[in-house]
Amino acid sequence: QLLEEQFEAVVARHERIEPRDWMPEGYRRTLVRQIAQHAHSEIIGMQPEGRWLTRAPSLRRKAVLLAKVQDEAGHGLYLYSACETLGVSRAELTEMLIDGRQKYSSIFNYPTLSYADVGTIGWLVDGAAICNQVPLCRTSYGPYGRAMIRVCKEESFHQRQGYELLMTMMAGTDEQRAMVQESVDRFWWPALMMFGPPDDASPNTARSLAWGIKRNTNDELRQKFVDMTVPQAERLGVTLPDPDLRWDEERGAHDFGQPDWDELTRVISGAGPCNAERIAHRRRAHEDGAWVREAASAFARATKEPGRD
């Protein structure tokens, strides 16, 4: 009882809960689920862009993309570490990812079909991620919040790089401009879906807000993203594919159309364009690497016990 009161007090003061502190079981479970999902998203998110590493059209872009995908692996690493402070190992989390018990962001179940997608993912997908994540730097769980600070810093760097790639392409040939527009057409709606279902269909939001795990509702964040993105699209010279998109003087915000929530449901439930391939890729890498990890453990054991080698 006392413990629970202390916990509530820390949360209320917007201070951090640390791994050694007592926490309610539901809080821990919610955190594990959310941090794991976030970590998995970084790892699965290496694939759609990674597909273009071998086709990057300039050496500079190849280096930028390689560094970015490497950063994503790094983010996965911090976040798995944060999750391990809650008593779940990386190996367990990986198992839960590849057997489907844990999810990752639905956006990565869409295919990347042109090099412009590398830019669009940076601009829109990382942009949406940042909207989601900046408030999480103030999340109530210490290791998660600190990981997010580092992640967010790198994500905004990635976002700028993505936007800069699109800007460069828009200054190129007609084909390149068409490629950028086509890419934005494909990613706009999935990007909006990244904030999750509308608030009235999001049962866990209230609890997460109360615990200080989340700091804003899905719809608040989505609105913020749209308001932030519209002027960027104008500067870029692309059209966002939403006929209902307009500035609402009264609200001081943009009105916009609804994503296809049925499609989101299908994608989340596993029938998206790339779900099976993303998981299969991850599983194959994990299984193909098993003998290496075993060898490393065996070698570490052997060299620690000088008698055995």
Partner: protein, 263 residues
């Protein structure tokens, strides 16, 4: 000019092509730490490639493929994306298709041991650009070699399965190793001029390092003759394996579809 350009292309293409091969491992490594390490090595080599290709273009603009008027592609990209396979000068070791993780670390060991010996000497080149590339590259490649050597030893002494795979990779790759150390007229001439390094002169040092690693791995260098070329020609002469053409088909596809593109 022509010699220097050919020499820089050789070292640049080695780095470019192996970097590309390593980038194919991205999101496929046995553990996240290795994913990050391999990407890092790929990035270092890509950086070396860019400097070397730029140096080649400066030394002899005639090696740079022409593009349609108005193309903004810099020399490094013209060289990377608009040459045919036969114009690449990498050794064949760098271009071979990937196998398993043992294949990755054995190739990286052979490659980086030879390259490190070369970069160390290149740091004393009379060409200031090459000297700088040599000095900076040596630091990077030392890390690559140590990473590879550590894994070679670990796999060789880890489990039965890992030892089997490590030895198989060694057997598969050893015949491609000597090509890296072969004297080549271009390198020989540049070495005499104090600009380049004759790889044949590094053979003893390279052999000693490999022997030390293999010793620690409780493994022996396989008894396999070097791979023949075609009428004496190999990678440095533009005579490659079938793997390079397929690699380039993928690598160059977007750039070639948009010769006037801006990226």
């Amino acid at each position: 000019g022509a010699d220097l350009a050919a020499y820089c292309l050789g070292l640049g293409d080695d780095a470019l092509v192996l970097s590309h091969r390593l980038s194919q491992w991205c999101s496929r490594a046995p553990d996240l730490e290795d994913d990050i390490a391999v990407a890092n090595i790929a990035l270092d080599l890509l950086g070396q490639a860019r400097l070397l290709l730029a140096r080649a273009a400066a030394a002899d603009p005639a090696v740079v493929p022409a593009l349609p008027e108005g193309s903004p592609a810099p020399d490094e990209d013209r060289l990377a994306y608009f040459r045919e396979a036969a114009a690449f000068r990498c050794t064949r070791l760098a271009e071979l298709e990937h196998g398993d993780f043992a294949h990755l670390v054995v190739r990286l060991l052979l490659f980086s041991t030879a390259r490190l010996a070369l970069l160390h000497r290149l740091a004393a080149s009379r060409d200031h650009v090459l000297a700088a590339i040599g000095a900076k590259g040596a630091t990077e490649v030392t890390y690559h070699r140590d990473y590879a050597a550590r894994w070679v030893v670990t796999l060789a002494r880890g489990t039965e399965e890992s030892r089997r795979r490590l030895l198989a990779a060694l057997e598969q790759l050893a015949p491609w190793h000597p090509e890296q150390l072969e004297a080549h007229p271009v390198a020989t001439r540049l070495a005499e001029a104090g600009v380049g390094v004759d790889p044949a002169g590094t053979a003893d040092e390279v052999g000693a390092v490999l022997a030390q690693v293999l010793d620690e791995a409780h493994a022996a260098w396989p008894e396999a003759p070097p791979r023949a070329g075609v009428r004496g020609r190999a990678g440095r002469d533009g005579m490659h394996t079938e793997a390079l053409g397929l690699l380039l088909a993928e690598m160059q596809v977007v750039a070639r579809a948009h010769p006037l593109g801006r990226w």
